[in-house]
């Protein structure tokens, strides 16, 4: 695919992604903070339903051998520390690396500063990596299908079903209509408020 086509494909997919992030309200810092405070579950609802759909899509596409999977390499210590830092950063920034761009589009000025901080973080990481690369042990890229020996499509559909049941129960306990808030930003909602 040529450069222009790749850019157009990325832009048009991003357009849909951005609309979905804005309409779900998950891009709001109030939604991220609310999720991490466990007072608002909008983020988990969006996140898990995207995973359920993704599991079904890949069960089909991989099951019928249209695509190959690209799981990321396992590196336990780096991934526990790195994941923990992402969580800290999500609360301090009020965004994740993808929703920063939705915040910029929706008009939050501080999102431009998050972007600047993120670019510096990526730059510093690239320069600093040789210092701690010897301590990051990167094992092979594996999935739970490799570990168990079960077919990927079976495990993927099984997990999708379990997550679907989980979402149904979550909706019962925390109806989505009660989690949007009067200003659609997750403020002033959730139980006991």
């Amino acid at each position: 695919m040529g450069f222009l086509l790749i850019v157009l494909l990325g832009l048009s997919m991003g357009l849909i992604f951005g609309v979905a992030l804005e309409k779900s309200r998950v891009f709001e810092p109030g939604m991220i903070l609310g999720q991490m405070r466990l007072q608002n579950f909008t983020m988990v609802k969006v996140f898990v339903s995207a995973i359920v759909t993704g599991l079904m899509v890949l069960a089909f596409l991989h099951g019928f051998e249209f695509v190959t999977l690209h799981p990321k390499a396992l590196s336990v210590a780096a991934q526990i520390v790195g994941g923990g830092l992402i969580g800290v950063g999500m609360v301090v920034a009020g965004a994740c690396p993808g929703t920063v761009f939705a915040q910029i589009g929706a008009g939050y000025k501080d999102a431009w500063v998050i972007l600047a901080g993120g670019l510096l973080g990526a730059l510093v990481y690239g320069y600093a990596l040789p210092l701690f690369a010897p301590y990051i042990r990167s094992a092979e890229k594996m999935t739970y299908a490799d570990i168990t020996g079960l077919p990927f499509w079976l495990l993927a559909l099984g997990l999708a079903a379990l997550l679907f049941i989980g979402l149904t129960l979550l909706e019962k306990g925390r109806p989505s209509a009660s989690e949007v808030g009067a200003e659609f930003d997750g403020r002033g909602c959730g139980p006991r408020s």
């Binding site: 494909l9 990325g10 832009l11 997919m13 849909i16 992604f17 609309v19 979905a20 992030l21 804005e22 309409k23 998950v26 810092p29 109030g30 903070l33 991490m36 405070r37 995207a50 995973i51 759909t53 993704g54 890949l58 596409l61 799981p71 990321k72 390499a73 991934q79 790195g82 994941g83 923990g84 830092l85 992402i86 800290v88 609360v91 301090v92 009020g94 994740c96 690396p97 939705a102 910029i104 589009g105 929706a106 008009g107 939050y108 000025k109 501080d110 600047a116 993120g118 973080g121 990526a122 730059l123 990481y125 690239g126 999935t143 570990i147 495990l155 989505s176 949007v180 659609f184 930003d185």
Partner: protein
């Protein structure tokens, strides 16, 4: 059922739509949804332009050459365009800084918010690169592939986030 002029959609409809984007991502680009590599691509171009000491074998080199990251950078720019469009069509214009920062953290001056935003962005991307992906790459795409690595990263994200939120924020 859902319209672009709505201010909010069901989180399940929006989530399912995001998950469906994995179809063109895997079929046409042989990759899944992700966001944090685009930061490395842009930072890498800056490093290569201004620092002759950055060699071809550096961490940045694959990010500035592979077309996968051109696609991902276009994707994140598209996210901004899509959110802008969605905001305008639903007339959901808002304040320049969310009032949640004052209510949840007591941060009321723009300058203190900008300092925290910069710090937060730095930690976010440093962590994402250390983990090898972010909420999209490990969260959405990694878990949908049943990746062992992603099943370690995602609980760590929630552990770090919940601990930070419980210590530094109050109910809003």
């Amino acid at each position: 059922m859902v319209s672009l002029s709505d201010k909010a959609w069901s989180p399940y409809v929006a989530g399912a739509l995001i998950g469906l984007l994995q179809i063109p991502a895997f079929l046409l680009m042989d990759t899944g949804l992700g966001a944090s590599s685009s930061f490395v691509k842009i930072a890498g171009h800056a490093a290569l332009t201004f620092d002759p000491a950055v060699s071809d074998g550096s961490y940045f080199s694959k990010y500035v050459t592979s077309s996968k990251y051109v696609w991902q950078t276009a994707l994140v720019i598209g996210i901004a365009l899509g959110a802008f469009l969605s905001m305008r069509l639903s007339n959901a214009r808002r304040e320049h800084i969310s009032p949640v920062w004052k209510e949840a953290m007591g941060v009321s001056s723009p300058l203190s918010r900008y300092l925290l935003a910069f710090l937060g962005g730095f930690i976010l991307l440093f962590g994402a690169r250390l983990a090898g992906g972010c909420t999209s790459g490990h969260g959405l795409t990694g878990l949908a592939q049943l990746a062992v690595s992603s099943s370690i990263v995602v609980p760590s994200i929630f552990a770090g986030g919940i601990a930070t939120a419980l210590v530094f924020t109050r109910r809003f």
